[in-house]
């Protein structure tokens, strides 16, 4: 394997390829891609994968360099743009932004939307740039690492994700786990992707299963809409939230002062991004959970703690660069968006693989450089819109509710051009509304929907491979990486149990004092 060709001193080569990026046309394309990407990202249902797929036909008529710049800038910006609707409307633009919605929206509701958005874009920038540098400098080392993940490892990673379900955004571990179980069940609906068995298909519209985006919009947006409408047409002018302007410098210093969250987020984003199949969907949530564990302000998470936003957004964007590592060096797309980008590269006759940087060095580097410049543009445009976008909270609830509903229906429909998805979204949303009255939260439920298929399909594949090899136990429970992951799972469970016990003791002590 000749991926060594892009190692060593040659890495600084990227500096020589900024030429084509800094031309008038290129900058116009980059700016257009960034603004368009932010808007597409902020639209519920238009995930980065979808946005890049929609843009590919537009690159047909461009030169390869310009086409890939557009895709690179749009990818960067859509990932960050998803946070806008997550923070302002509590509708995560894509699964990656769930964790951002938890604290970001609480901040926006207090009138700190500008601050939340500024912190979010600064964190996105930090994470994004770190991710791109990992892509530039560590690709050869990490490509092999990324390929090494097999079904047994993916299974344990999914289980590691399950261990955080209980503690995510809920008051009680039991309710969190119950919600997670419902999520796992929803994920089972449809044809099982490996064996083709029918499960819980009562209507032909459920044959394809419940699409994650439809579920996401329904679970987050619909309960909010109903709650807003509960208030009726009472005039809210009196109690309108005051939107506090926030200085960008303060946002920078706040983000830097919380470097612990930023470090955790970037690290987790890079690692998760590298693992093919895990995708960015869980990077934000895992980072959020870890940042909380290491934070002295644990109890403030979920009530508008900026550390939560920082951890989630650094992780989401740090994942972008590393997720392209297996794509560019081995032609193996590591995430759904990378798979779509592969199509975009191929259509221009560029074959990713060990020889990419020798044969098409100019195009490949221009693409990577556009990802890097895209980060800067995303930061500039993001900060610019943060100030006025925050005023969304001042829209009267009945109007905001109808706006969210329209966006939600549009988003759910557009994913698969399917009206059935809109019905699914509505049903799930209505159910979630009643569940939320009993103290359940949508975040663990969605995590169940995401992790269920990963755990299941990898278990089934692992079992088939194990049958041909040394048996189930040997396949899943031996080998360094498996043991390391199992240790992490055990540590995570032990930590949750310990915290729960300590909390109980603390509460009963308080009760005794009172």
């Amino acid at each position: 394997m000749r991926i060594g060709a892009i190692s060593g001193w040659k890495n600084v080569e990227f500096l020589q390829h900024f030429g084509p990026v800094f031309t008038l046309t290129s900058m116009a394309i980059l700016c257009g891609g960034t603004v368009g990407g932010l808007l597409l990202g902020a639209t519920p249902g238009l995930s980065p994968t979808m946005a890049v797929a929609l843009l590919i036909p537009f690159t047909f008529h461009m030169t390869p360099i310009h086409g890939l710049m557009l895709l690179g800038a749009a990818y960067t910006a859509t990932v960050a743009g998803g946070a806008i609707s997550a923070i302002l409307l509590k509708i995560p633009g894509a699964p990656a932004n769930i964790a951002t919605a938890l604290d970001g929206n609480a901040m926006a509701k207090r009138g700190e939307g500008a601050k939340a958005l500024q912190i979010c874009f600064i964190s996105s920038f930090i994470g994004g740039v770190i991710g791109i540098f990992v892509l530039i400098f560590l690709t050869p080392v990490l490509a092999q690492f990324a390929l090494g993940f097999g079904p047994s490892h993916m299974f344990w990673i999914a289980i590691l994700g399950v261990t955080i379900i209980g503690s995510l955004d809920s008051k009680s571990v039991v309710k969190g786990l119950l919600a997670g179980a419902v999520g796992l069940w929803i994920a089972m609906i449809g044809y099982d992707s490996i064996q083709g068995v029918e499960r819980f298909i009562f209507s032909e519209h459920l044959e394809g299963g419940v699409h994650i985006i439809a579920a996401l919009i329904g679970l987050f947006a619909i309960p909010q809409v109903i709650e807003m409408l509960e208030g009726g047409r009472i005039r809210h002018d009196v109690e309108v939230v005051k939107v506090q302007p926030h200085s960008i410098f303060k946002a920078v210093s706040e983000t830097i002062s919380k470097f612990r969250a930023a470090t955790i987020g970037s690290l987790i984003g890079v690692v998760v991004g590298l693992i093919p199949g895990a995708g960015g969907q869980i990077a934000g949530l895992v980072a959020y959970d870890q940042a909380r564990r290491f934070s002295p302000n644990k109890e403030r998470f979920g009530t508008g703690e900026s550390e939560g936003v920082i951890a989630a957004e650094t992780a989401n964007n740090a994942m972008v660069g590393p997720s392209l590592v297996p794509l560019l060096t081995l032609s193996v797309p590591g995430s759904p968006t990378a798979a779509v980008l592969l199509g975009g590269l191929l259509i221009h006759g560029i074959f990713p693989g060990p020889n990419l940087f020798e044969q098409h060095g100019d195009v490949a580097w221009a693409f990577i450089n556009s990802l890097l410049i895209g980060q800067f543009l995303m930061l500039i445009f993001g900060l610019y819109i943060a100030g006025w976008a925050a005023h969304v909270v001042r829209i009267p609830p009945p109007i905001l509710a109808s706006g969210i509903l329209v966006l939600g229906i549009f988003g759910a429909y557009s994913v698969q051009s399917s009206y059935a998805d809109v019905v699914v979204m509505m049903v799930l949303g209505l159910g979630m509304y009643f569940l939320s009255k009993f103290g359940f939260s949508p975040a663990p439920l969605v995590l169940g929907v995401i992790l269920g298929p990963i755990a299941e399909s990898n278990y089934v594949q692992g079992r088939i491979i194990a049958e041909a090899g040394d048996g189930l136990l040997a396949y899943f429970c031996t080998g360094g990486l498996n043991l390391f992951l199992i240790a992490l799972v055990l540590a995570s469970v032990a930590y949750s149990v310990l915290t729960e016990i300590r909390m109980r003791r603390f509460e009963s002590n308080q009760g005794a004092i009172a």
């Binding site: 994968t49 449809g190 044959e207 259509i347």
Partner: protein, 318 residues
């Protein structure tokens, strides 16, 4: 959002459509349903082969791609065969052997009996691949290993009852010993597990294997002839003495629902193959490593019937 606008234009146009005659067909944009997600091989090729549709010598109207993915194509095709219009403005892309195998194996609303082929644009044969570090150098080595270790040789592929699986079943039969099929969620993850050494071998698309050829050994092609364009040095599996024909080759093309007026079908059947032969289409397909094989309506019809017969026999015992 030009695509979206076009889609809306198409929808509005459909709503106000009046009965038509083939003389002025098509007088508005035509949609093409793809049963797989955006960015996948079928979607990506469908976009390339339809990009010149608006030229006067072809349809004179653009073709808009609409994705309806889910359940390996079943969602889109079920929807197409049961509720699409038969006015010639709603086309769909087919994947053979997928949709035929599914119609035999599952209760689907589609089969070759209620669909009408228009033309074929591509044929992607399945290839048998192993990792560069694998001890296998030919299909003979694979056969010897399978004989000594029945049921131990793991082979990845994209799911059940798709081209890869059909090729696997044929190879297993020809080798005469049991192998172990490990279905994946698509061609890319299946290829990844070969490159990462999680499985010992894989059945995958020729186009994808061609792109990863530096990290792989491509041991054989499941087709009747070698692929002169991309892999002239790779022998077919048949050449190596194992009875595997072209039944698993992944054909992609355009179809309409039965009931579409004959004059519209005739017009499409005359224009669409010409569109696939356009030099810009051919150039882009080649650049993407996707083999182009243009077939006319009659040729596709015969091919569908042959596959139907073959797959009914092959899948009978499963």
């Amino acid at each position: 959002m030009k695509k979206f606008a076009l889609g809306m234009a198409a929808l509005t146009a459909i709503a106000v459509a009046s009965p038509l005659s083939a003389a002025d067909y098509p007088d508005r944009p035509v949609s093409l349903m793809v049963a797989y997600s955006p960015g996948g091989a079928t979607d990506f090729q469908a976009r390339i082969v339809t990009m010149v549709a608006a030229n006067e010598e072809y349809l004179g109207q653009p073709i808009v791609i609409i994705n309806k993915p889910g359940a390996g194509g079943k969602v889109g095709w079920n929807n197409f065969a049961s509720s699409s219009k038969t006015d010639g403005y709603e086309l769909a892309a087919y994947n053979v052997p997928h949709f035929i195998a599914q119609s035999i194996k599952f209760k689907t609303k589609y089969s070759i009996d209620n669909l009408e082929p228009i033309a074929n644009w591509g044929a992607d044969p399945a290839v048998f691949v192993v990792n560069k570090d694998s001890p296998f150098n030919s299909m003979k080595d694979v056969a010897e290993y399978a004989k000594a270790n029945p049921g131990k040789l793991t082979v990845s592929g994209a799911g059940l009852f798709v081209g890869h699986h059909i090729a696997y079943l044929q190879i297993e039969k020809a080798l005469g010993n049991e192998l172990k099929y490990v279905p994946h969620k698509g061609g890319a993850p299946a290829m990844k597990s070969v490159l990462g050494g999680q499985v010992m071998a894989g059945v995958n698309n020729l186009s994808d294997a061609y792109r990863s050829r530096d990290s792989l050994k491509i041991l054989g092609i499941a087709d009747l002839n070698r692929n002169e364009e991309f892999l002239p040095d790779v022998p077919t599996i048949k050449e190596q003495g194992f009875e595997v024909d072209d039944s698993s080759v992944n054909f992609r093309g355009v179809m309409v629902r039965k009931g579409t007026p004959q004059d519209v079908i005739d017009k499409l059947a005359a224009k669409v193959p010409e569109m696939f032969k356009n030099s810009r289409v051919a150039k882009q397909m080649k650049a993407g490593g996707s083999p182009l094989r243009v077939m006319t309506r009659d040729e596709v019809k015969a091919m569908w019937e042959r596959r139907q017969k073959f797959l009914t026999e092959l899948l009978a015992g499963l």
